[in-house]
Amino acid sequence: MVERQTFVSRYLPHAVLLAGVAIVAFPVYLALLASTYDAASVQNGQMSLLPGGRMAENYTRLIFTGTSSSTREPVGTMLINSFVMAMAISLGKIAISLISAYAIVFFRFPFRMAAFWLIFITLMLPVEVRIYPTYKIVADLRLLDTYTGLTLPLIASATATLLFRQFFMTVPEELVEASKIDGAGPFKFFVDTLLPLSVTTIAALFVIQFIYGWNQYLWPLLITTRDNMQTIVIGIKKMIVTQDALTEWQLAMATAVLALLPPVFVVVVMQKLFVKGLVETEK
């Protein structure tokens, strides 16, 4: 059954979607523009909708030399820190959630549901509730200014455990039976059967958690005291707030562009897996 296409029904979706794309992209386009101008033009609001000529200069200065207005560290270092943090958090979360969900779904043992709830309830403990006490613990463990301190407290994940649990519960019972008949133990079943089945879920979670890790703000702000441990999201925030000095908007905007490129890249490149995984786990 094919409907007769009217002019409106044919072009309306394109018009709406193009408008959507434009609205979504405009703030970033403007940031990109600002990053090609000199300080005074931006500060005095004299930018046009076309790029200025300072792009190479701004980005080179930012990535390699660093900006004195915000921090001595070049953004290159911050990018590396952000990357390490995002990778450690996303992979760590996936690893520990995978095995916890495995234990909860495929084993029967005393306090099984209690264990589940213990993890689940952490969803209800927003970071604001416990930021100072958590900071103190990390300090006591001498983990300030280390990648471990930056990532370890963020690795526990109720969401990831839940998603894996839900996914595992959809795995046909016959598979477990068959595996058992083949004489496979829990380890072999996990590696040979369950992991291959979980690839999409893992990929989806990786995307989500990579972004979560990359975008962390309050935590790194508190626990990194050395300039060379700073992440880029903090770096940009620190560029905006200045005391008695000019906010170098052109550099702040260049940093914003650099800060959003990697996670956006991950989402775009892993889009198919990401969407598929999200849908599967959400059910």
């Binding site: 409907e3 979706p13 394109h14 709406v16 979607l17 959507g20 794309v21 609205i23 979504v24 703030p27 403007l30 940031a31 500060q43 005095n44 609001g45 930018m47 690893a95 520990i96 916890s100 495995y102 234990a103 909860i104 495929f106 084993f107 029967r108 043992f109 213990l118 689940f120 952490t122 969803l123 209800m124 403990l125 927003p126 604001e128 509730v129 416990r130 100072y132 006490p133 958590t134 613990i137 370890l152 407290p153 690795i155 526990a156 019972e173 079943f189 972004i211 990359w214 975008n215 309050l218 905006i240 908007w249 914003a256 800060a259 959003l260 996670p263 775009v268 969407v275 959400e282 059910k283």
Partner: protein, 293 residues
Amino acid sequence: MERRALFGGKLLPYSLLLPQFAIVVVFFYFPAAQAVWQSLLMQDAFGISTEFVWFENYSILASNPEYYKTMGTTAVFSALVAFLSLAIGLLLAVMADKQIKGATIYKTMLIWPYAVAPAVAGVLWLFMFQPSLGMLAKMLRGWGIDWNPLLNGNHAMILVVLAATWKQISYNFLFFLAGLAAIPKSVIEAAAIDGARPLRRFWTIVFPLLSPTAFFLLVVNIVYVFFDTFGIIDSVTGGGPAGNTTTMVYKVYADGKLGSDLGGSAAQSVVLMVIVIALTAIQFKFVERKVQY
């Protein structure tokens, strides 16, 4: 649901749970318990003198008109962001779900803001609407609109709502798209044969089938507005003007800032915790019900 063919082993399941448990206990439960304890104390900034005050922090909070104002602000902010981002996300998803050319490209072009950090999103919007240098702020002035988020509470609210919505559209878009894809085309075609017009068809057939997704998203969006918009508010308005964009979470931060009122701030955290527990319970119930299918 408890139907699994299961493995035995006494120690194995515990050792599998151990890493998660260690982190959860050390970095979640212990600090959260300390926060609850803190809400019963009055303390100076450096933690040198401490007084146990039972529930006084809570009673101070309950008699503070500013706190109720914050609750109202949070409600308005949540409602606006949830409504706008759901509506726009749905509209775009419906359009992208049609069999049109370039649908994949549109999808890609619409989902990437999901990856932008809230603090960065805030900075991007601040830059556009900063009264002294923002391009859009200048444009609004050119149209004779006296754009002044520094003093006009509505303008400030519009600004944070826009930034928060911008960031959330892609998430809602994705989920609506998935929801639409799950609706059997035969159902829609059957309606089309009955001669229902597209718009009517949408509201009577498609939308009811989408309502579980919409409800799920509503809860997720409210949680998002409650907690994740902190970075946006912090970078765009700082809660001002006259407290017009101070949400409950922002007030927790602002009151605890520089350790000035850690007890009061902790008490607010506990109130928030109760709210999140309620929201999460609703969300979880819903997720569980869907698993039953």
